[in-house]
C-alpha cells in the first residue's frame, strides 16, 4: 500500500546566501495513517509537503512512496492547496472530473465516482456553479472532492482550512474525518494550529524552524471516531500543553 519513506532529506535553496529549508528529515508514514506536520510559519513544513508531492526536488536524501522514488507529481498523491487552486474558468463538475479526463479515464468510470464524491462533500446542488460563486469552505470541499475522484491513495493537504473562519473550519475538520474514516487514505496534513493537528491526526510531527527539522513525534491516543467535545477534554489539553512546551524549545 502507500508507505511514505523519507530519510536524511535536506532542502537548500541556492540563493545568496543559501537558505537551508529542511535538514536531516527522517519520516515514515504508514498506509492509511493520518499525519499532521505542525510548526510555525517558515519551518519548512510546506516545503516538505511540496517535495512529497513532487513539485520540488530534495537537495539531498531519499524519498520513496511504496518503494518508488518520487520524481514528479502524480495523481496517486492528491494535493489539496491552501487556496483550493481550482480552475476559475471551469464549473464545479468540470473541476472535479478534470483529473480523470486528462488521464483518459472512461466517462462511465469517473462519472459515478465524481457524483459520489460530490455527494459526500455536500456539493451535489452546485455542480454547475463557478468557483467564484462559492464560499471559501465550499471551494475547499471541491478541492477535496477533486482528489478523491481521482482515487488518490495519499492526500497532501497544505493548511487547507487556514483561510476559513472558525465555524467553517470546525465543520470542515469533521467532514474530513468522516471522509477519511470512510475511504482511509493516507493523509499528510500541514498546519500551524495545535488543536487542528490533535483533533485530526494519529501522529503529530512537531517541526522547528531555520533549518526546518523534525523536533518531536507524538502519538495521538484519542479514540476514533472523534467528536468535537474531545477538544475541550483534560487529556486533550494535557497533550496541547506538551506540544506547546516542545515548540517553545
Amino acid at each position: 500500500m502507500s508507505n511514505i519513506d523519507i530519510s536524511g532529506l535536506d532542502k537548500t535553496y541556492a540563493t545568496t546566501p543559501p537558505v537551508s529549508a529542511l535538514q536531516g528529515v527522517d519520516l515514515t508514514i504508514r498506509s492509511g495513517e493520518f499525519v499532521a506536520l505542525l510548526g510555525p510559519s517558515g519551518c519548512g513544513k510546506s516545503t516538505l509537503l511540496n517535495i512529497i508531492a513532487g513539485f520540488e526536488a530534495p537537495s539531498l536524501g531519499g524519498l520513496t512512496v511504496n518503494g518508488q522514488e518520487i520524481v514528479q507529481p502524480a495523481p496517486e498523491r492528491g494535493v489539496v492547496f491552501q487556496e483550493a487552486a481550482l480552475f476559475p474558468w471551469l464549473n464545479v463538475w468540470d473541476n472535479v472530473v478534470f483529473g480523470p479526463q486528462v488521464q483518459g479515464v472512461a466517462k462511465s468510470v469517473y462519472e459515478p465516482r465524481a457524483k459520489e464524491m460530490l455527494k459526500i462533500m455536500g456539493l451535489s446542488a452546485f455542480e454547475s456553479s463557478l468557483p467564484v460563486q462559492l464560499s471559501g469552505g465550499m471551494r475547499q470541499r471541491v478541492g477535496i472532492a477533486r482528489v478523491l475522484t481521482m482515487g488518490s491513495k495519499i492526500l497532501l493537504m497544505d493548511e487547507p482550512f487556514g483561510a476559513l473562519d472558525a465555524q467553517t473550519r470546525l465543520s470542515m475538520q469533521e467532514l474530513l474525518l468522516k471522509v477519511w474514516q470512510q475511504l482511509k487514505p493516507t493523509v499528510v496534513f500541514v498546519t500551524h494550529d495545535i488543536d487542528e493537528a490533535l483533533f485530526l491526526a494519529d501522529t503529530v510531527y512537531v517541526m522547528s524552524s531555520r533549518p526546518g527539522r523534525i523536533q518531536a513525534r507524538l502519538d495521538v491516543p484519542f479514540e476514533r471516531p472523534r467528536q468535537l467535545e474531545l477538544t475541550t477534554s483534560a487529556a486533550f489539553n494535557q497533550m496541547k500543553l506538551e506540544i506547546l512546551r516542545q515548540m517553545r524549545h
Binding site: F81, A85, L130, V132
Partner: protein
C-alpha cells in the same frame, strides 16, 4: 444619489449636441465654404453615397458606400484573423517555453519598433497594388498587440494552477491548452481589442496608398477632388465600423470570460 438611465443619456448628449451646433454655425460662415461642410451637408452627401444611383458614372460617390465598407471590413477581417491565428499560439509558446522565448521573442521585439506605416513602401514593392499588401499591414498591426499580450498572459499563469494540473496528470500539451490558454484569456482579449484598433488604422493607411478601393481610398480620393462632405462621412463610417467590430469582440469576451466578470463584482 442614483441616476436614472435617462439622466445619464441626457448628460452624455450635451457635448455632442453643442459640438454639432457649433459646427453647423461655423460651416455656414462664407469663408469656411469648401473647407468645412455643415453637418447637414455631410448628412446629405452621406445619404447619396449610401443610397444614390450610380447613373452615368460621373459621380463616383453615388451608391458606393456599402461596397467600400465591405472592402475595408473584409480586409480587416482577413488580416485580423491571420494575426489571431498566429499571434495567440506564438504568444503562448513564448510565454510558456523558455526555448521559444529565447528563439522567437528577440526577433519580435526587434521588429516591433518599426511602425507599420514604415512598412508601406516595402509592402507595395513586394505585393504590388493589390489586396495582399493591405492585408499584410493589417496582419502586422494586429499581430504585435496580440502576441505581446498573449505572452504576458501565459507568463502570469498562477503557479498553483500549474501544480494542480500536474498533480492531476496532465501532459505538456494538455497543460498548454487546458490551463495556460484559459488563464491567459483575459490578456488575450486585451490584445485582440488593441490589435483590432490598430488593424483599422492599418487598413485606412494602406488603402490610401496601396489599393484602389475601400474607405481609406475613398477618404483620400474625396479629399483630392474637394468633396469634404464625403471625407467627413467617411471618417464617421470608419469610427462606426471600429465601434461595431470592437463590440463584437466584447460580446464574445463576456461569454468566454464570464468567470472573470463574476470575479470582479
Amino acid at each position: 444619489m442614483a441616476q436614472s438611465r435617462l439622466q445619464k443619456g441626457l448628460l452624455a448628449l450635451i457635448l455632442p449636441v453643442a459640438v454639432l451646433c457649433l459646427w453647423q454655425y461655423a460651416g455656414s460662415q462664407p469663408d469656411m465654404a469648401g473647407i468645412v461642410p455643415t453637418p447637414l451637408a455631410v448628412a446629405v452627401g452621406w445619404q447619396s453615397w449610401i443610397w444614390g444611383h450610380a447613373g452615368m458614372g460621373l459621380n463616383p460617390y453615388l451608391g458606393t458606400w456599402l461596397a467600400n465598407v465591405s472592402y475595408s471590413a473584409s480586409r480587416v477581417a482577413e488580416g485580423f484573423v491571420c494575426a489571431t491565428l498566429m499571434g495567440v499560439p506564438l504568444g503562448l509558446m513564448i510565454g510558456w517555453s523558455r526555448l521559444a522565448a529565447q528563439l522567437i521573442d528577440p526577433m519580435i521585439q526587434g521588429l516591433r519598433p518599426i511602425p507599420i506605416t514604415a512598412w508601406l513602401p516595402f509592402s507595395i514593392a513586394l505585393f504590388g497594388i493589390r489586396d495582399v499588401g493591405s492585408i499584410f499591414l493589417i496582419f502586422l498591426g494586429g499581430f504585435y498587440a496580440i502576441v505581446v499580450n498573449t505572452t504576458q498572459g501565459a507568463r502570469d499563469v498562477d503557479k498553483n494552477w500549474v501544480r494542480a494540473a500536474l498533480m492531476m496528470g496532465v501532459n505538456s500539451r494538455q497543460l498548454l491548452w487546458r490551463v495556460v490558454l484559459p488563464s491567459a484569456m483575459p490578456n488575450i482579449f486585451t490584445g485582440l481589442r488593441v490589435g483590432l484598433g490598430i488593424s483599422w488604422t492599418a487598413v485606412i493607411v494602406s488603402e490610401m496608398v496601396a489599393v484602389k478601393s475601400g474607405l481609406g481610398y475613398v477618404l483620400w480620393d474625396a479629399y483630392y477632388v474637394g468633396r469634404m462632405d464625403i471625407v467627413l462621412a467617411d471618417m464617421v463610417s470608419i469610427g462606426l465600423m471600429g465601434f461595431i467590430s470592437d463590440s463584437f469582440i466584447v460580446l464574445i469576451e463576456t461569454r468566454v470570460l464570464r468567470w472573470r466578470l463574476l470575479q470582479n463584482h
